[in-house]
Symmetry: D2
């Protein structure tokens, strides 16, 4: 069970809603992923849209938790505004704080992320903070009271997977709120790895939306997250430099 | 569908039968893994065992394909003798040729593996050859006519995962028979990775048998293999150095 | 030529002065390294020490630039106090700002590092800021006006080398002040790698001081830094997936 | 001192002679590298060349050991013929056995390499065997009596560096003849790493010949090999997961 603030979820896979070939594929991929939380950019909210053109039907809205993110915000002020807009639209009071500090790498701005998180917490939001894998920054965010830490595995959309598993492990080790690995996941093995390290969940988007077959990849990611979580709970074998025989001499199978 | 010679299997996870804490756990782990092929060392065959003491009940034998391996053989002659003994015991005519050339690393002997494979093929065996990730050696084994190539990911029981994904990719690319990644898999992410690279199946033992909770890890591995296979079929996104926004400006979700 | 503020150095290797087996070895190692900048913790300044017990003789002081660091400072206030104490002792006005945010990982605190850097810059110090490899944080430090960015390769004294070469590359790419890779260097290959990525210099301590033979390792590091710098200037070949023959058919050597 | 059979060398860097922009650059690069052994393909020997067109002048021939390789040989028979041709040309009796088993990856053929080595040893050659990093294959070559083992770091000309340091370590650990890491070295850090692992020497070609500035890169590689060797002799610090302070409290520098 994934608990973020007062919310509870069965699925440990959060899915982004951008970059799908079309809405039909998006709808099927979302279903195949088993995701309960869908994230989307507040920038893309459009209350004037004609009915029937939404990727998610009205009927879907009850089944998913829509997690607005502040993508596109360049500083804390903009991020706070995005969050307030989302709340005013009647969506839930959760928000993923995302303040980008560099257009080329889309890596987050630590100072503005701290500021935006602090302000939104004071306004009663449930805050999930997208951050680099800076270990002390993650600690500072947690001290502010954020409800989940979302360290990036590698740059958004890069598909490079987990570049620094050590930092991720440190962040997970020290955290008392959920750690959701966000950004950079490229393949099911990456997602499984994040979960094996002890992450509470994984958020991804491009890896599914831009896969050759997004629906099949969504299912792959669902299984990968389940698999990695089970592996974490089961406790993996240690790595050894030398070999150890798996077929000892004494009988067992006969 | 995994096809090895004339055999066909749904599951792409092959499981070893050594090193489990006890037979009850082994039985449950085997079940949780969904494996159809169980591998075991011919050295451990014992026709004089009293009934009821087998890890696998009589009733199980019909449900699994038992794949004898020649672990413990130090040269081709011994490996051939092991294989013949297995066949004489009424097991299937499949055999995993395993000739170890170094006790410390348990890495395979290329020359004796080639010899043993050639001889066993001439005697009508269905041969699965355990080998290093030497690309040209894999090709030579295939030219002999082996029915599956089993390159090691890292030393047996080491849990180091796939050290050389490049060689594995080359072997998979050139192969026209199944490639089954064998040895070294330590966690679900490793298994998923092997499948994503295009392997036809994964064989593992220690990663499950010696996990904190072998039954749970067996289930994790089942899901990892399924996940990695789906990921391979779906086609992953390419890795990019720089980021690409996953939340474009144009509307989709509203 | 390495230029930090108004200072200029030939050597691109900065050496720490802690953890040597004894002072004689330290003195020889410093000499073998060719370092011109020696860093040391202000905490260890002791103006009451009897003469003749210093690791560095009076005569040495003219040959080296002593770079005080604020190791041990837990926040900006302490770091500023350390820096002022160093300045008052008659050392140079350069200071390495180091504010640790986690005792276990010794990773730096981004917020307090920014604060301390800002304050010390306003007091006229030449500031070298030890930081994580957070790309936007490095940019913010540079915008403050720090004279050098010192991203860690991995935790202090861990010898794990460069865990995230991508972030390091991004920091180097965007920087207009020197980037000095600090912390985590374990071996000459690590130092060479940092320089190949385009770093302006490397700071290390444990890798030399705790090596089996510190003096020999100091020489190894000197060569590694030279080698990596030359390699960077020469321009390395790109990595290719497939092979390319190095012995073409047309004649050259005869 | 590098000893191969009855030969002795100061330099631990062997240089290939293919793919340089022109002969002048090649000559300067060779000089800058400090290499004493130059390798070249027997295919490129041409006894009918007019004088004065050789990349290496007559006067150079006395200063270098020319190591012919059998590049281009597709099986043992061809490799033996190449070696005999080289010997007949009055070059030294050393030969680098290179039998490629795959045009795309240029990876060596283990079986033909063994055959060619055996035959050439019986004819009195000093044999250096280019091989994959298959650990048992390296052992079999050594049992035949080859005078040096030359495992590839990654495919020829790929510049991917050392993909499998574990296998390289195993080969070095078991070897009683020199281990010369050959193929795949892309940068000075790669060369330093090979030497740190305990290799006796490094052979490279493309990394220098195709660098932006081959002469400068040759010097970089010379320093890298020296650096890595010193680092190996000095004994590096162990890698640790957590940090250890390099600035202890007790005084040393004052």
């Amino acid at each position: 069970m994934l608990k973020i603030g007062t919310y509870e979820f069965e699925s440990r896979l959060l899915l982004g809603t951008g970059k799908y070939p079309d809405q039909e594929i998006q709808r099927k991929a979302v279903k195949a992923s088993g995701a309960e939380i869908l994230t989307f950019s507040v920038r893309r909210l459009n209350v004037f849209d004609p009915p029937g053109e939404n990727a998610l039907e009205e009927s879907d809205l009850g089944r998913f938790t829509l997690l607005p993110n502040t993508a596109g915000a360049k500083d804390a002020t903009e991020a706070v505004r995005h969050a307030q807009l989302a709340k005013a639209s009647g969506l839930c009071d959760m928000v993923k704080v995302e303040v980008i500090g560099c257009e080329k790498t889309l890596l987050p701005d630590p100072v503005e992320t701290l500021k935006a998180s602090e302000e939104l917490l004071s306004q009663g939001f449930t805050v999930l903070a997208y951050t680099s894998d800076d270990v002390v920054l993650a600690r500072r965010l947690e001290e502010l009271g954020v409800h989940a830490i979302m360290p990036g595995a590698s740059p958004i959309g890069s598909g490079q997977g987990i570049i620094n598993p050590l930092n991720l492990s440190f962040i997970i080790e020290q955290a008392r709120v959920p750690v959701i690995v966000d950004a950079g996941i490229g393949s099911p093995a990456d997602a499984a790895k994040a979960m094996e390290l002890g992450a509470d969940a994984v958020l991804l988007n491009t890896a599914v939306a831009q896969a050759g077959d997004p629906v099949k990849m969504a299912e792959a990611m669902k299984l990968a997250v389940l698999s990695g979580r089970l592996g974490y709970e089961a406790g993996r074998i240690p790595e050894k430099t030398y070999a150890t025989a798996s077929s000892p001499s004494e009988g067992l199978m006969k």
